[in-house]
């Protein structure tokens, strides 16, 4: 971590480059998501399916990549390098399939959530979250330098940054959701509430329309329950917790966005400090 070491002197420029490049990439990602938000409802079926596949692949790619690194760390810790098992267990089609399934689920949810984003402030939140992710990753990488194994440090840094950013983004989205306006469903039956919200959801793609209507139906159920339980809004701590529970679906947007960013951004390369005597394995 000393700034006087040769490796540390060479690092600032490429590191800063990476940070701003990543920040720019994430800005482009948010712009892309905004364009999707603007046009999703009028996209034909093929367009929606193509977007879904792209989002799925991106999320799966990021998840798969990090999972393999974590698996490698695990295998290195527990197995002999000369064994054939580390190679067999390093992660193959099964792991890829698992991430594809997760990617398809989260990607679909992300698309539906994107089409239904009600307030403009969300875009500022996503932009800022993108910057926080990049900065957090740089910060973690810096903090981990000289402490973590260089092969696993990028994953660790990304993981830490994702967790912190995810937490912050969810909090911000929840605050925005708490301040948003919703139809007043007090005095209505559940059937009325569901129909009222489902009725307004329309899209050119039947697939997306079905998804939107499902989302609207569960939205109606949650809002209706929320307004039945806490008709006065947030007045007390239990009411606040209740409303946070009702609006918890905001987490899907945060999760989808961050996993998408994770797939889009290559892991941050770290300087190999294994040669550094400080990093020599401690054998007692």
């Amino acid at each position: 971590m000393s700034s006087s070491s040769p490796s540390a002197e060479a690092s600032p420029t490429p590191t800063r480059h990476i940070a701003v490049r990543h920040a720019f990439t994430l800005t482009l990602l948010v712009i892309g998501l905004w364009l999707m938000h603007m046009n999703l409802r009028v996209l034909p079926e093929a367009g929606v399916v193509a977007l879904w596949i792209a989002v799925t692949l991106l999320i799966a790619h990021g998840g798969f990549r990090r999972h393999r690194i974590r698996r490698a760390a695990f295998l290195r810790g527990y197995l002999e390098p000369t064994s054939q098992w580390p190679r067999r267990l390093r992660g193959g089609p099964l792991m890829a399939l698992r991430h594809l399934v997760i990617g398809a689920l989260l990607g679909g949810l992300l698309l539906i959530t994107l089409a239904r984003i009600p307030t403009q402030e969300v875009w500022a939140a996503l932009l800022v979250a993108g910057f926080v992710l990049v900065l957090g990753e740089a910060l973690f990488a810096r903090l981990l330098r000289g402490h973590a194994h260089p092969q696993f440090a990028p994953e660790l840094a990304r993981s830490g940054a994702l967790r912190v950013t995810g937490l912050l983004l969810i909090v911000v989205l929840l605050v925005l959701a708490l301040q948003a306006r919703y139809p007043d469903l007090t005095g209505a039956t559940l059937e009325q509430a569901v129909w009222f919200l489902v009725h307004h959801e329309a899209a050119r793609s039947h697939l997306l329309e079905a998804g939107l209507q499902l989302a609207a139906a569960q939205d109606a159920l949650r809002l209706w329950l929320g307004q039945q339980w806490f008709p006065q809004g947030v007045e007390s701590l239990p009411a606040l917790l209740g409303w946070l529970l009702v609006l918890a679906e905001q987490a899907f947007l945060a999760l989808g966005f961050l996993l998408l960013a994770n797939g889009l951004l290559p892991l941050r390369p770290t300087n190999d400090t294994l040669g550094d005597p400080r990093n020599a394995p401690v054998i007692e």
Binding site: V30, L127, R181, Y182, A188, W195, H199, A202, R204, V246
Partner: protein, 378 residues
């Protein structure tokens, strides 16, 4: 040197990032996401019930509705036109039966002197020219059998036509509700408001389209007015028929001939009473009066034997003409009445079922994102 270039590149990336972010935020604040409305289903409100229907299905329902209305209204029109025919036939048969009685009256002394009196006043210049024909009409078409009867008939038919058209629309509503049973949706939440105002207004339009208040039609094409016009038509028709038949009648000679007849009768009376001495004046007047009346009676009988058949024929013809005219007027009035309501319903139905054809305040396709500016914030 490389360090400076690196910084420049970093700054460039940073500026690009900030520019892109600012553009995104500005664009996001300026534009609303595009909505897919082309195939959005419409909401119909029939009475208290709301339905969500695809546009294709609405087009089919529109055709079905128009056919239903067309058939129902045509049936109502035919039914009531037939009914009017029957009623008028019965009414005129009764009037035809009155013709001999009217002819008896016509050839009575009382009627003759009444005509003489009218002719006298006509000669003096203060009487209506059609007075004899009017008297004849009053005899032939007494108020109880004609004016009142027509007014009653008009009221009955107006009510019946409206009732039948209402029934057609009620049946349509039931049929439609049955057909739309699978498309029923619940009412919107009572306090959600939002984008449902247009729907409700449109639904209201549909509801009233088929239940248009009758006052509008009473002002436009009242059958009572037709009945009154028929009454007014009777006098000239009778006058024309009677004149055509009895043009050669001697009574055209008028008052002068009657006076001459009276003079001759007076002379005759004086001659007959010449033997009676002091009572000759009274006797003469009585004899002259009796002679006048007798002569008039004889002349009337003569006239009756010669022209009664013609008169009866003329009266029958006048009644036939009146029958034909009245029938035509009533048929037209019923057709107009049915058509007026049909056209109004049709226009409303077309407007209601395919609102996108005519952009207007009540015709917008209801849409909204469900997050309208109403409602409670948690």
């Amino acid at each position: 040197m490389a360090m400076t270039a690196g910084w420049h590149t970093a700054w460039t990336w940073l500026v690009l990032t900030l520019l892109a972010s600012a553009s995104l935020l500005w664009l996001a604040s300026q534009h609303e996401p595009r909505n897919w409305e082309e195939a959005a289903p419409l909401t119909l409100q029939l009475g208290e019930q709301r339905y969500q229907v695809e546009q294709e299905r609405l087009t089919r329902l529109e055709r079905f509705t128009l056919e239903w209305l067309e058939a129902g209204d045509a049936e109502a029109r035919d039914h009531w036109q037939g009914r009017v025919d029957t009623e008028l036939d019965a009414r005129f048969a009764e009037l035809h039966d009155r013709v001999p009685e009217v002819a008896d009256w016509y050839y009575s002394l009382g009627a003759e002197y009444m005509r003489l009196w009218l002719r006298g006043t006509q000669w003096l210049g203060d009487a209506e020219p059609d007075a004899p024909a009017r008297m004849l009409r009053e005899r032939l078409l007494p108020e109880a059998l004609w004016d009142h009867a027509l007014r009653d008939l008009a009221t009955r038919i107006e009510w019946g036509v409206d009732e039948q058209q209402r029934q057609v629309r009620d049946a349509w509503r039931l049929e439609l509700a049955e057909r739309l049973a699978d498309a029923r949706i619940p009412d919107p939440p009572p306090r959600a408001g939002g984008g449902s105002a247009a729907e409700i207004e449109r639904g209201h339009a549909l509801h009233t389209a088929l239940d248009i208040d009758l006052e509008r039609f009473d002002q436009r094409t009242g059958l009572a007015a037709t009945a009154a016009a028929g009454t007014g038509l009777a006098t000239p028709l009778i006058a024309r028929a009677v004149q055509a038949r009895l043009a050669t009648r001697a009574t055209q000679a008028g008052l002068a001939r009657s006076l001459g007849r009276a003079g001759r009768a007076g002379a005759l009376g004086a001659g007959v009473c010449a033997w009676s001495g002091p009572f000759s004046l009274g006797c003469g007047i009585t004899a002259a009066g009796a002679t006048i009346i007798g002569v008039d009676w004889l002349l009337l009988r003569l006239d009756e034997t010669r022209h009664r058949e013609d008169l009866e024929q003329a009266l029958h013809e006048a009644l036939d003409a009146l029958h034909a005219e009245t029938r035509l007027a009533w048929q037209q009035a019923i057709a107009e009445r049915v058509e007026a309501r049909h056209a109004a319903s049709r226009a409303s139905v077309e407007n209601t079922f395919q609102p996108w054809r005519r952009p207007g305040p009540t015709s917008g396709v209801a849409s909204g994102d469900g997050h309208g500016p109403s409602g409670a914030s948690p």
